[in-house]
């Protein structure tokens, strides 16, 4: 008891150790791994992230042109962010808010179309440049 006394007194007069979450949320650390988000404009559905994700949190359907992300499975290991050849996956420092139902995010990537359009534009400009 006497050894615990300073701690007890400190607790009596000190403030609470916890916050009124989710009303009061701590600012995330600068490089905290909060969550990942997919950029539909850049993604080309190449499938690298699907193959490398250790938690199987990403799946894709090339025929439907859909990328499905299961945030509740994601462990924010950052592997997908590191290996994405198009840099289409971003790391957000802010933590995801708690949820009752497991969310499922469906993306419709346009990267392949925009990539193709870019190539077509480049191809049409090429002869002009050569001239």
């Amino acid at each position: 008891m006497p050894w615990m006394l300073p701690t007890i007194l400190k607790n009596f007069f000190g403030g609470p150790a916890t916050r009124l979450y989710p009303v009061e949320v701590r600012e995330p650390f600068e490089h905290a791994r909060g969550q990942v988000s997919f950029n539909e404009d850049k993604c080309t559905l190449c499938g690298t992230c699907v193959r490398r994700c250790p938690a199987e949190a990403i799946s894709m359907d090339k025929e439907k042109n859909e990328l499905t992300f299961y945030p509740a499975r994601c462990i924010v290991c950052e592997v997908c962010v590191d290996i994405c050849p198009r840099k289409a996956i971003d790391l957000i420092y802010k933590w995801r808010s708690p949820f009752y139902a497991k969310p499922v995010e469906v993306y419709k990537p346009r990267g392949k179309a925009s990539n193709k359009a870019e190539k077509e534009v480049a191809a049409t400009h090429e002869p002009a440049l050569n001239n």
């Binding site: 008891m1 050894w3 615990m4 300073p6 701690t7 150790a17 650390f29 490089h31 905290a32 791994r33 462990i75 924010v76 290991c77 950052e78 592997v79 590191d82």
Partner: protein, 285 residues
């Protein structure tokens, strides 16, 4: 896992990586032991101490989040190095926080080791003799609590060879001895982090590793908070390993309950089971 895979090539990582890995390993040990000390207090009904330990642990988790980006599953090691670096500002914050954590833990550990109630609930409960511990193949604090000087850090992997390290050993072999080992290791882990932060060399944080893991096999022993963690890897020249075997410390420590539990009082079962720090989900690998 990363280190055993690096051994397949083998890849020599820069000195800064070794120190960073040591710092994060010891930081994980600090928070794991603080969690356990809290759970022990909870097991014999000392609720206020349980929360005090967890409050201190939160500071260590904040340090981990600040430096690695994650609280518990850091995912910071990659083959050939680490993903994150500790900046000079972060280093200063780490040193200040660790000193505070050490001071606060010390005062709480003093209560744990001197309190009459704590002693009466742990001394002589779940006795595991040195011979039984060795025979049953125990690991980590369970083994060291029975008077065996055995620790994978003595193999001097990472930066442990350059740090002032000596394993904590207690002779009694009861739940109190195992608690003492973990309490002292908490403080020792903080000292090791402070020493490693002071000696942290400059340099690169990763080297580029080319190609697939070669057809080779390797073993690696590391000291996780619960005991020796064993990895075996076999490569076949392709992208995927042919075989990877993990033996977690709880798998090694569980048989000791067969000796400790028979004949004990029912009320002592939570304390005795907890004294090996079981992680059942880690056992099945």
């Amino acid at each position: 896992m990363v280190e055993v895979t690096e051994k397949l090539w083998p890849v020599e990582v820069p000195p800064r990586v070794k120190y960073l890995r040591t710092i994060w390993a010891e930081m994980s040990r600090t928070h794991s032991h603080l969690l356990w000390l809290g759970l022990l207090a909870d097991a014999f009904g000392f609720e206020s101490m349980f929360l005090q330990f967890w409050r201190i642990r939160e500071r260590v988790l904040d340090l981990l989040e600040m430096t690695t980006g994650q609280r518990v599953i850091q995912s910071v090691n990659i083959i050939g190095g680490v993903r994150r670096d500790i900046s000079p500002e972060q280093k200063k914050i780490c040193i200040d926080t660790l000193n505070t954590v050490r001071k606060e833990s010390e005062s709480l550990i003093k209560v744990l080791t001197n309190d009459y109630t704590v002693k009466s609930r742990t001394i002589g409960k779940g006795v595991l003799t040195k011979e039984q511990a060795l025979q049953l193949g125990c690991a980590g604090p369970t083994l060291r609590g029975s008077g065996v000087r055995e620790d994978a850090r003595l193999t001097k992997y990472d930066a442990y060879g350059e740090l002032n390290y000596e394993p904590v050993v207690e002779e009694a072999g009861d739940s109190y001895a195992r608690a003492l080992v973990r309490a002292k290791e908490t403080l020792q882990a903080i000292d090791l982090q402070l020493e490693a932060l002071a000696k942290l060399p400059d340099g690169e944080i990763a080297v580029r590793v080319r190609g697939n893991p070669p057809a080779n096999e390797a073993v690696m022993r590391t000291e996780a908070p619960r005991g020796e963690l064993f990895y075996y890897a076999k490569g076949n020249g392709t992208r995927n390993l042919e075989r990877l075997k993990v033996r977690t410390p709880t798998f090694a420590n569980l048989p000791s309950l067969l000796v400790m539990l028979p004949g004990c009082e029912l009320a002592d079962v939570p304390v005795i089971v907890l004294s090996i720090d079981p992680c059942i989900s880690c056992t099945e690998r």
